[in-house]
């Protein structure tokens, strides 16, 4: 590919508390569309995303290079990275339980830009209706909507999204997938996802991790078509992908 990638991860190693969790991971994220990061539980997908946004725990150690355009991301504080256009939706939603929904959203507003409330409320009308409810009392799915809504308030150069459909009702899964699809039209997305149906719908490129290393990279749709490959990499035949 001749196009400059928006994100280039090279030889990324992460150690936490003595465990060598990522061992020389390299991949790139294309400037358009969704790149999906796949792998079984515990291979280090979340660890990878967190290393990119600079959220490796204190007792962890990161080596290698991560670049967005010409800029190195390592050793820059998270809030700078995010203000520079790196949006992050964490795995466990991490909404602020003690704040109301509206306050959660207000917090995500960035100075200097107009927050796109209309866009967010169009996608998730629930968030508008529940503005005064404490986020901690939202149902699991509602919290996920809030977490995604929060990053969509702003313009981003790259979105990192960790398992956004986990625990969502089928209908909402579809909706989230649609949202991400639309978002991906304007912003590249690096997505961690277990739901292969969602992957099939969204993903352009795929990176498969296995035991802390990259096991496969390439076109996502091709991956899903090749039953043998998906079976060996992900342990499921593409036919078994649940609808």
């Amino acid at each position: 590919m001749s196009v400059e990638p928006v994100l280039a991860v090279d030889d990324l190693s992460v150690r936490i508390a003595g465990l060598h969790i990522l061992q020389g991971v390299s991949f790139t994220v294309a400037p358009t569309g969704v790149t999906v990061l796949l792998g079984r539980n515990g291979v280090g997908k979340t660890t990878t995303l967190r290393a990119i946004v600079g959220l490796t725990p204190r007792n962890g150690e990161v080596r290698g290079t991560i670049r967005m355009g010409a800029q190195s991301l390592l050793a820059r504080p998270t809030h700078r990275l995010v203000r520079g256009g790196l949006g992050y939706v964490p795995e466990d939603r991490c909404v602020f339980a003690g704040l109301t929904v509206a306050e959660n959203l207000r917090l995500a507003e960035r100075r200097g830009t107009t927050p796109a409330y209309d866009k967010v409320f169009a996608l998730f009308p629930e968030l508008d209706r529940r503005g005064r409810q404490r986020a901690g009392s939202l149902s699991g799915g509602q919290q996920q909507m809030l977490a995604i809504g929060r990053v969509l308030l702003n313009d981003n150069r790259l979105l990192l999204v960790d398992e956004p459909t986990k625990g969502l009702a089928p209908k909402v899964v579809t909706e989230v997938a649609e949202v991400l699809e639309r978002v991906a039209e304007s912003v590249p997305v690096l997505l961690v996802e277990q739901n292969l149906a969602v992957v099939r719908r969204l993903a352009k490129d795929a990176v498969v991790l296995s035991a802390g290393k990259v096991a496969w990279t390439g076109n996502a749709q091709e991956l899903l078509l090749e039953t043998a490959l998906t079976k060996s990499l992900l342990g499921v035949g593409s036919g078994e992908v649940h609808a």
Binding site: L55, T78, C94, G98, R106, L107, R110, R150
Partner: protein
């Protein structure tokens, strides 16, 4: 009648002092989630800095505008020390409550000892305007002016803090940051600054309490802050942690209760009643008067 007026107004003065001490504590404890046992040190710094300024700082003095300058200097010093403490000692320890306890306990021991090493253990007369020693007649009661000064100051601090929390974004950032600092940074906010600010405010409020406490007690001594602290803690807890308004209600309740029980009951009963009130409030409403229900 004049007894009741006198007890009420002096009780409110006492409440104002508690509130001034508690407000900074509540802010730091409730918002930054730091059980700050070094709060007494900030009080001491404020008091000693004011005392020092009145005697040594050009333009400052013990009366009129000079006194205002001296108090301002004290408040500034308190804020500065608090910021330094936050930057150097607390910053690496957020969300490690227990280590914070160790550090702030250490700080309060070392800080008070340092004050004592520098200025001695004995109380020093505190510079203060002459009118603060006088009384004002209210409905036949001789109400000390120092108490009235405290009430005014407490009202101003309460209003200021509420405005800060309600109308600035910092309030929101801080509340979110207490829950999950990481996630706040992941929204592109430099949460560290907000927390430093909380400490600065907490330190300033404490220093003001220290300076006005000096006016009230007429002296300043190294341990003065510590002795007020236990009631301030009680006020913070009764009021509901982190709720400035709650602290204000609780301070009034505690101040009046103590005053009236001490007058009509036997000695020592006032303190017991306050402790009893604390236990009762916590058992019936563990989140404190103004606290919200913690979610399961």
């Amino acid at each position: 009648m004049s007894d009741v007026v006198l007890l009420t107004l002096t009780g409110l003065g006492l409440a104002a002092l508690y509130f001034l001490v508690a407000s900074g504590l509540s802010l730091v404890f409730g918002l930054a989630d730091v059980l700050n046992f070094a709060h007494g040190l900030f009080l001491g710094v404020g008091a000693y800095a004011t005392w020092w300024a009145a005697g040594n700082l050009p333009g400052a003095g013990s009366d009129g505008f000079g006194f205002v300058v001296a108090v301002a200097f004290g408040v500034l010093a308190g804020a500065l020390v608090a910021v330094l403490v936050e930057l150097v000692l607390i910053r690496p320890l957020y969300s490690r409550t227990i280590e914070q306890v160790l550090v702030t306990v250490g700080l309060s021991l070392a800080g008070v000892a340092l004050l004592q090493a520098t200025w001695g253990a004995d109380p020093r007369p505190f510079p203060r305007p002459a009118w603060t020693r006088d009384v004002t007649g209210v409905l036949g009661a001789n109400v000390p002016n120092a108490g009235l000064l405290l009430i005014v100051a407490a009202a101003v601090v309460l209003g200021g803090l509420l405005a800060f929390l309600r109308w600035t974004r910092y309030g929101l950032v801080i509340r979110a940051g207490v829950e999950n600092r990481e996630m706040v940074t992941a929204l592109g906010i430099d949460v560290r600054k907000a927390f430093t600010l909380v400490f600065a405010l907490g330190g300033a409020a404490a220093a003001l309490a220290g300076a006005l406490g000096g006016v009230y007690f007429g002296t300043v001594s190294p341990g003065q802050g510590g002795s007020l602290l236990i009631f301030a803690f009680i006020v913070v807890v009764i009021g509901g942690m982190g709720s400035v308004v709650g602290s204000a209600y609780a301070a009034v309740a505690v101040g009046l209760l103590q005053q009236f029980v001490n007058y009509y009951g036997t000695s020592g009963l006032g303190d017991l009643c306050v402790v009893g009130l604390l236990a009762a409030v916590l058992l019936l409403r563990p989140q404190g008067l103004a606290g919200k229900v913690a979610h399961a």
